[in-house]
Subunit: 313 residues, 6 copies
């Protein structure tokens, strides 16, 4: 069973809307090597896991990383949503009343015609979609779960490294601060997960020599990444274990296979950052409530107060 | 952020392996109206939610149901895995040494050639797959999130009702107890979610009359369902809110729109049932560890004990 | 614009339910070379047609065949629906009360687990689906419309011939009379359409020699086909033109390119055969109306009578 | 059976070519909530319909709306074709001889490289494609036909509302008159179909309160829409019934559920507008006939005249 | 550039037709980890390869394995074709005149209705298809080519190991000699390719310890495999280099990473085995030539002899 | 079996990078009518070929054209790779140090956000992908192999003609010399393959009159094409037969069906042009080797020299 807490796993920096950056980030959300895929792959591997009781640390490692990936889906989805929110009004037309839906035949959504993925405005309402940066819907055929422990770990190591490679490329595509705050965080956490699967394979006898991390990039080149690496975030594994039964720490310990001189450590979860609700966008008819319907919602809210205030509560 | 606890949301009854039932349940896991879809749809709707502060109960309702669906994915995935586990050895060949991978040219996996989805044995290792009962991989194009609140709620009501309809049909396809324990539970919870979205639409002025629940089936016909309905499980909404900030209870209260005379109530989460690890299946090379690799795992476990026993710990 | 008349383009023979035959026929409905594809391909070719006024006969030929294909979709869809209808109760369990949905834990839909496409029972309610015989959904990528007249005609000739080839193979897979009455009709009409596109290419200078029809089968081998060929149905082209403006007859005339000694002729449409409504299937919750909802429908019907009887009508 | 008449269901306004608008309209043609989908969904629901004789009005409603959707496919397909036709020559290069295919190494199709969907020029010949605005081919998996009457009606209501929502968004993306004339018409007709399915659910006891129409937009904001609403086009249901046997009018009567004060009425079909044939586009090799092949077509035309003039005709 | 020689890379043993085995082998041909995928992946990796001149051995290794995979596609495709060929007539009906297409209404293809993939008979003519064992068409999205050398090698190692794992499972599904002769050969060659990519990673510093080969199976359990391993076929790398410029031998040398005590060696290509042409299957209308068309082919053949015999040749 | 030689089938002209042209060429590589499809279609048709010994020329024709298509995949893939290589640094920013990966937060890959297919930079490393120009992955469902000889030849003729039509359109989209050198070559070779299949159908009695070639374009309009046509390259069929056993020359002889006055001739293979290795691209982390890993490769190369120089070699 899973629980949710109203906190984001990392803080999203504030910057202007940027639909092109939003679209690039879609690869990290719904792409073949994005967060929806890692999340689903590890959850299936954990559900179908085989072994005796001594192998529980491997199952717990998969479960822990898989649970973190749900929060990554939440983080990158929210980031995409913020990069899109208000973008039709942004490009040099800041004072235009573009939030009004088509008043007098206006074209407040004309931006959609030549910006990345038209579905961000036409199918969604300036929000994240379960597709990649080229518009392909996420597919269950991405999930790899052979049932063979060595193969599954090897695939996971390759998967995290490819995710990290793609995010490094996305970093180089945009300097939007909103986009980069999330991309930098995921580059570092992907490295933590590389470490996790590399370490699990080390426990089975593989010596990785100098090939890790993949890609072989220095954090110094990416300032936002460097800040997080300096805090050692690439060498912590969260268990997200509400009952603290995870044995993943048996595998995630000792020197980092990334050859950066750090020691691996585990923790339950990070501190988290507050979430918010996106504003109404009239040109999208979202949420699309007119005064009558809003009044009904208000009535529900007021009834709530009355009930809370009533004697006996 | 999400947390995981090592408990299943419902107990899975013990019965013989049954790959045909396992395959039917795949529709409930990876089908167009299955649990992976409801989970992803509600998580996207929550991430992209728009409105003012008074609309938070609607967002929280989506977030709460979405979080429960992750646990449903875990439950139905585990159920499929158990229905498949050991099935090659089961059909009248119980005493055969089928766990040995093809010793002397034997065919321990011959069952795969004419049972439902060959991928259950060939691609997976007698485990659940992210596909539907006809073998189609899950697709991101299933997710509906228009951003229009009325439409999203209407779709969700239809989605839960269709899920419930399909599960009622699956119930009629098999009497395997393992399969039915999970199917019955999901029929009841789908009704709870029907109630949730119907009630949210009621708050916007819709009167459902007598059409709910859909399908209009009497629980008496499905004994396993009746037991759960008698406990009122169709009228409880869990928030799965670790910080208890959910306001979903503002919407999920009052008389059930299912016309069954119950009052709707909310709770944080159910009690849960313990999980276990599936046994090794040699004919699948899963987990595929030979004595040398097993010794390395054993060494890791023993090192753990030494560390735990060492002074200072 | 299109009009509909409540008549089937051919009569469907009565026989027992046969889900395996139904599934084979799905290739003719939703397959890559089935009726949904020919329909869509010709409608797109007609919509996007380019040329001067003298080329109108070619556009009209495409429009006419395309309109006939909508009626073929209706015919083969209805045939599949009849082959599936009641099939769960049919196999040796005729007297079972299988129409009741799972009363007392029964499994009236157990047939679905090992018959062709489980979706016929689980997703649909014993009805036709827009998929092929292997369960693949129909795809817009099937439609070919290059805009080059010679190429489009060449493709269409190949398309009709492949459709005819596949239907000849389906004929050999089943002797169910319901299935064969429709398959035989479509074999003959596919030949008529082969003739249409071959003749159009003849008007551009191609001489087909002895290669037509494809496949080179003698109707004598397929008795149901022979009956229709004896009536000359393979040499008639219907225009389905409500305003009789079609000029397709300029192309569809003279000796048949199928080398069978007939002359090609045109007509507006065939006579047609009455349609009916399929019965309720309770085990599918279809239409799923309980007594209360049925009473509402009854009330609507009676109100209708009152209105019809009221003075002034 | 279906008949075709050489009339468009609405008039298409004349304006300049606009490939970006054409691409946005593709969502309305081949998108998940576009006209190909509504057409196919209702035709399948009608073919597979279950019920007793009193339920015929529901089947007829589905059949009538489904038949109208074929004409909508024709309308929007033709509109897209017109928006694309001649677009390579349009953008500031009006006097260029761009219709000539690659004479002396020229690049008359260079527009294709950076305009929306390159397939409009490369795969099609400046014509409509069976894909959505992001280039995804139409899929049979879109079609929903559960067999449960309440669910099918509920889905259809949501489907029409989503189609209307997306078309309102497209309206706001372009002010091209060709595009808007068709979009405005479809916004109004989608509302008529919303009314149809909402009314059918009313007959089963649902009271929609104030939530319809969805989206809750005032026609005043969209001048082209307002003109059609002023004519009451959102409250008429056409039967397109050639034999006038449709009983859809039993359901489509009384006050509009859209709360606009109108009464619902039925009619057979609208008046219609003449169709035309698109001109040759040499840079696309469409239709690709050289003088020799044109002479053969001319010969066919003349032969026609001779036959018509011959004695006995 | 590529050349073809009319030889199969391995001999296919003779046995009875077996459509179920044929279908299982489809995973090895058109599956996500089958030969079409390895072929395409390595050809793309070779085409897009980046590096300086010293990295040529890595490119040549990819090119050499990729070229071998084309011959594997040929081998497994031919094997599937032979397993299907004549299967409709085989099952206890050996003396039936099943080669005749539906004479007098017979059903010579009835086997298709309940055997694995109906498309083997309905779409193909008892021949191999580019699909997997569950009927999914091969997809370009399978191809992995990140451009990062370490990642590409890591993926390739995982890919070959998964291919080998799946073929071991197929071996256990059938004892048909035709199927096993090819499966056994591919198990051994997949191990050779595992060695190739593992060795290339060794050259970059990775030490695989005891984890290879994957799966950790002993050849002794699979007699047909053991025979090939005894010949050392798992430790030879063919270059298939017509101009002998390949430098792959710089990487493929020294002790095998599979820990089997062998030394790795390279060779240009194996000896090969003669190919043949499949017989006509009348019930499939394949090749579908009637006496007139056969006479035309005969005339072509005789003309050839005359030309060959004519003076001056 | 297949052999490879390190030569390209045609020379690729040198010009500036051009990602838009690269993307258009993707249709010719991974499109529904591109080289991956022709290659796979003919290889499957050859593998599954049916007939007696006299029909060998038809099988050999398919095998020969199919083998040539593998070299076409290599040619067009390499062309796309060259058009992309270095493109991020090209557009007016030639002196920028863009090859450095994200130094100090720079955005060397910003070009990816608004150029054709972002996957060329994000998923691949400025290299060819197995997708079409709209980003759709290649699909096995494209392959047509009915087993009926006339139909397969007819489809192949249409397929080559459509490929040629699309390449003529691509020619008109760009004047980049790199792109045009390959496009022109493929236009001519597609015509050669049109001739091959048209001629094979001629041998079965079809007379093509004046309709070939399709499209009916004059080479004079495309200067790069004219040069090749003047050399008669459209009338040569290569066998690519390493053992010279091909009998394709029995079919490919006599007057060209393209009505251009040439005689058809056969040859084994063209002369070929040297290949090269693409340079490192640091901003893509491709090949991603740091000094330590490069030193290991260098060590491997030097060891090679030592071994080559050692006595006894």
């Amino acid at each position: 069973m899973y629980l949710h807490t109203e906190l984001l796993i990392n803080e999203i920096a504030v910057d202007e809307p940027d639909p092109a950056a939003a679209n690039a980030l879609q690869e990290g959300l719904g792409g073949q090597f994005g967060e929806m895929r890692t999340m689903m792959q590890y959850l299936f591997q954990s559900i179908n896991f085989r072994g005796d009781v001594k192998s529980k640390p491997y199952k717990d490692l998969l479960q822990g990383v898989g649970t973190e990936e749900i929060s990554h889906v939440e983080l990158i989805g929210t980031t995409i949503s913020r990069l899109l929110d208000g973008s039709p009004a942004y490009q040099g037309r800041k004072n235009d009343p573009v939030d009004k839906p088509g008043a007098r035949g206006a074209t407040p959504l004309s931006i959609a015609l030549d910006h990345s993925n038209i579905h961000h405005y036409l199918v969604g309402a300036q929000g994240a979609l379960p597709v990649d940066a080229a518009g392909n819907p996420w597919s269950g055929s991405y999930v790899y779960n052979s049932g063979n422990l060595v193969l599954d770990l090897l695939y996971n190591l390759m998967l995290e490294s490819t995710g990290r490679l793609q995010k490094c490329r996305i970093y180089e595509m945009t300097d939007n601060k909103t986009a980069r705050s999330t991309i930098a965080y995921l580059i570092v956490r992907d490295q933590a997960h590389e470490n996790a699967f590399a370490k699990a394979l080390e426990s089975l006898g593989v010596d990785w020599g100098k090939v890790l991390p993949i890609p072989k990039t220095n954090a110094e080149r990416f300032p936002e990444v460097k800040k997080l690496v300096d805090r050692g975030l690439q060498s912590v594994q969260y268990t997200f274990s509400a009952d603290n039964l995870s044995e993943a720490d048996k595998l995630y310990r000792g020197a980092s296979p990334s050859n950066d001189g750090t020691e691996l450590t585990t923790d339950v979860m990070p501190q988290g950052f507050p979430m918010s609700i996106s504003p109404e966008r009239k040109e999208e008819f979202s949420p699309g409530l007119d005064p009558e319907l809003l009044a009904l919602i208000q009535a529900t809210a007021e009834q709530e107060i009355r009930i809370a205030d009533s004697p006996g509560n």
